[in-house]
């Protein structure tokens, strides 16, 4: 039923083994197993409430902050290490695994302070080093040319798309290995969306990217692998082309062709 197709040239970044997750008594994920590959874009699609965001948040233990939420079964391995082991410090984990949220939510500070925030809280003192990383991150997020003259302006003066790219730059500044994106383009206009998508495509070379999206076309455009979730279950997981052109499961086909969702 579940298709585990590995592209042989890429090592496994995140290995989810038989994971179940519940909020209180409601089970939102049941027995999920999938493998996310390094330097690939993996997208999670599915109707609202299917658990795709929850699974994403399991990867950096952000779910722990919600009361009564817990993993009931299974494990998540990153670099072959179970991240739910007691010895794992979630703070350290989150430094390695960056996250970009649905709403662009820069802090109400200057652009520079936003990008350097992660470094500041980690105790970086060297001003020149910070400057370097800030510039580098903004370059990578394709924002440098637009903001280099106004680094000390409030981040809220940027447009929505720029804000989202600023959030990506902020995430890049702490030098993660994996970037989780939770519907990063849902509140952006098509032009801004296109820019972010382009950015994601470029980031793929250096980072492993997992993206949750409502927009199936987007998944088709940017991702190498696609997972389709429905009611807390992983229905199908395969190369994007196969999912979109020749889905194995009826539900997948119905969703992609717009019969429900």
């Amino acid at each position: 039923m579940i298709k585990e197709k590995k592209a042989p040239s890429y090592p496994i970044a995140i290995d989810v083994k038989d994971l179940s997750f519940s909020y209180g008594k409601t089970e939102v994920l049941s027995s999920i197993s999938l493998q996310i590959l390094q330097n690939q874009v993996t997208s999670f699609i599915g109707p609202s409430g299917c658990g795709k965001s929850t699974l994403l948040r399991c990867f950096n233990r952000m779910n722990e902050l919600i009361e009564h939420a817990k993993i009931t079964q299974g494990s998540v391995l990153i670099n072959e290490l179970d991240i739910y082991e007691k010895s794992v410090d979630p703070i350290e984990l989150r430094k390695r695994i960056g996250m970009v949220f649905q709403n662009s939510n820069p802090f109400p500070k200057t652009i520079y302070q936003n990008v350097s925030y992660g470094l500041k809280i980690q105790g970086f003192k060297n001003k020149r080093k910070i400057d370097e990383i800030v510039e580098d991150s903004l370059q990578k997020a394709a924002l440098w040319d637009e903001v280099k003259d106004r680094l000390n302006e409030n981040a809220y003066e940027l447009s929505g798309g720029q804000q989202q790219r600023l959030c990506i730059a902020r995430t890049l500044a702490v030098q993660p290995e994996i970037i989780l994106m939770d519907e990063p383009c849902s509140s952006l206009d098509p032009v801004a969306t296109a820019r972010v998508e382009e950015l994601i495509f470029n980031l793929k070379q250096d980072y492993t990217i997992v993206i949750v999206t409502h927009n199936m076309q987007q998944a088709g455009r940017i991702s190498d692998l696609t997972a389709f979730f429905y009611l807390g279950k992983l229905i199908e997981f395969d190369e994007t082309k196969k999912i979109f052109i020749n889905p194995k499961m009826q539900q997948t086909e119905d969703y992609i062709s717009g019969k429900f969702g």
Binding site: M62, E92, P108, I121, V174
Partner: protein, 556 residues
């Protein structure tokens, strides 16, 4: 068709007259009541401002700085040369001094004064010579002997009374069982008399009385003997003490006499005069020969006094003169410190409640108790503060006790508002902070608290008005009715600053409303009330300005 429609164009007119009338009535009532409230509010403010400005502004329309910068004083209303003037104590005594200075100058130019001065000089010199040390020593010895003889006679009589009541005092009609009690009363009365005679010995005699009271209460022939011995010792020992005091006083007196004779002035005269009176009250000096001399001196002094001292009759009104500066300073100190403490405690509590606390029974219990705390009457906080801080922690009536009492009173406001404002910070800030590898505290410190600050300061604005206005909590814990010293004056050690009471505006209004009322106290009340209103307004607008600045800085 068209005609039909036109005839039906009125189908939206109201068919139900009752509902329309009800609507009108409700509208009328709500409107009238709103206007009544508006009128009351305007009246209160107009009343305070119009009456208070009589005190706050001078007749020429300038701000009355002395009202804002002086301590409360008694108001003296005097009539001088047909002119009525209102003077505070300081001004009144200064005025009197000026008058007597000019009278003294006039007196100085009169021949009579030179004559009196000469006579006084001669008499004073004789008086101090007559009472030279040697003579005085012999006087003292005979004086002690006289005292002892008198006491011996009394004690002998009492002892005989004790032993044989009927033979010595048949007219007493007292049975021999009651005699010891009666004699005991005699002894106590005798000691009281001696106390009156020698005021310098008052403490020693009281101590003596207390020490021997059991014996006096249960007299027997042995115990009365002991009391007699002890009393004689006391005289022997302490009459010398009076002697020493006298020597010192005499030295002092001689200096003062010289002062006066060399440079006669109202001040040196007053010093001399008061000393001579003390000198005369000393029983050791009241020997026949010096008594007439002293009398002559006194009459001369009296003459000089009456010639240059001018009485200025005045009507006195307590608390109605001077200003309210100590109260203003005290209120600012109380409000500032209490808000600082309340914000620190309240914000910590709010952080725990909104960020760390796991919802459950404990948290609802905490919330419930905070809500209940908000309903406690302020006088109860006053009593609580007195019990805990003033008495149990032994801070006495002090700023510190007032700070904590007031802080506890506004804590519910601060906690509720701060928690509300912490919760209103978007989830996104918290999540992105955590996702960037922040610990929970780092997240709170860097991306929650700064943005919640405007909301927390809103609570401070509410708190300031409450803290500044409450009388009851500070009545027992921090406020003095009258203290002319300012809080930063006369501190021996910097910690003393926290352990002193202060004056406060609301308590001052309370105090001047409790004393007998007249037009001057009313002016004072309204003046204080107006200053109080302005002060609260200024304090609140200060936090308002800080808040809007923060809002502008952290705008999202």
């Amino acid at each position: 068709m068209m005609k039909d429609q036109r005839s039906q164009s009125n189908r939206f007119s109201s068919g139900n007259n009752r509902m329309v009338n009800l609507e009108k009535i409700v509208f009328g009532i709500t409107r009238i009541l709103t206007y009544v409230i508006l009128f009351c509010a305007c009246f209160i403010f107009w009343d305070i401002i119009s009456k208070g400005s009589r005190k706050l502004f001078t007749d020429d329309g300038f701000i009355n700085w002395s009202f804002l910068s002086e301590s409360p004083q008694t108001l003296h209303v005097i009539e001088h040369n047909g002119e009525i003037s209102k003077l505070s104590s300081d001004e009144y005594f200064k005025f009197k001094e000026e008058l007597s200075d000019s009278a003294w100058d006039e007196l100085n130019s009169r021949d009579e004064f030179t004559k009196v001065q000469k006579r006084l000089k001669a008499n004073l010199v004789t008086a101090t010579e007559v009472t030279s040390n040697e003579v005085q020593k012999s006087l003292l010895t005979s004086f002690i002997q006289d005292e002892q003889t008198e006491a011996t006679e009394k004690f002998t009589y009492w002892m005989e009374l004790l032993e044989n009541a009927s033979s010595h005092a048949p007219d007493f009609q007292v049975s021999s069982e009651n005699m010891p009690y009666l004699v005991g009363r005699f002894i106590l009365a005798f000691l009281d008399q001696t106390k009156l005679k020698y005021s310098l010995l008052e403490t020693e005699l009281s101590f003596f009385q207390a020490l021997h009271y059991p014996k006096i209460d249960h007299l027997s022939s042995q115990s009365i003997q002991k009391i007699k011995l002890a009393y004689f010792n006391l005289l022997e020992e302490h009459l010398h003490k009076i002697w020493e005091a006298y020597i010192a006083e005499k030295k002092n007196l001689k200096e003062n006499i010289n002062d006066f004779l060399q440079s006669p002035s109202p001040t040196s005269f007053s010093t001399l005069e008061s000393q001579i009176i003390g000198y005369m009250e000393n029983p050791l000096l009241l020997k026949e020969n010096s008594a007439s001399l002293l009398e002559a001196i006194t009459s001369d002094l009296q003459w000089i006094g009456s010639e240059h001292r001018i009485e200025v009759p005045s009507k006195d009104y307590a608390y109605s003169g001077g200003g309210i500066f100590p109260a203003i300073a005290g209120t600012i100190l109380l409000v500032g410190g209490a808000m600082l403490i309340a914000l620190m405690l309240g914000v910590c509590c709010a952080i725990f409640l909104s960020e760390y606390g796991k919802s459950g029974k404990f948290l609802s219990l905490v919330r419930l108790s905070i809500l209940n705390l908000a309903g406690v009457p302020s006088i109860i906080f006053g009593l609580f503060g007195m019990g805990l801080f003033v008495i149990f922690l032994d801070w006495n009536v002090s700023i510190l006790a007032g700070w904590f009492t007031l802080a506890f009173m506004v804590l519910p406001i601060v906690i509720t508002a701060s928690e509300e404002s912490l919760r209103s910070i978007p989830k996104g800030f918290r999540e992105s902070s955590l996702a960037l590898g922040a610990t929970k505290w780092t997240m709170i410190r860097t991306s929650v608290l700064p943005y919640a600050m405007p909301g927390i300061l809103t609570s401070a604005i509410l708190g300031v008005a409450r803290v500044a206005g409450e009388t009851a909590p500070i009545m027992f814990t921090a406020a003095f009715a009258m203290r002319s010293e300012l809080p930063w004056e006369g501190l021996e050690h910097w910690t003393d600053f926290f352990f002193q009471g202060v004056m406060a505006l609301p308590y001052h209004i309370y105090v001047i409303s409790k004393i007998p009322q007249n037009e001057y106290t009313v002016d004072m009340q309204y003046g204080t009330a107006l200053v109080f209103l302005i002060l609260v307004f200024l304090l609140a607008s200060l936090s308002f300005i800080i808040r809007s600045r923060l809002r502008r800085k952290f705008n999202w």
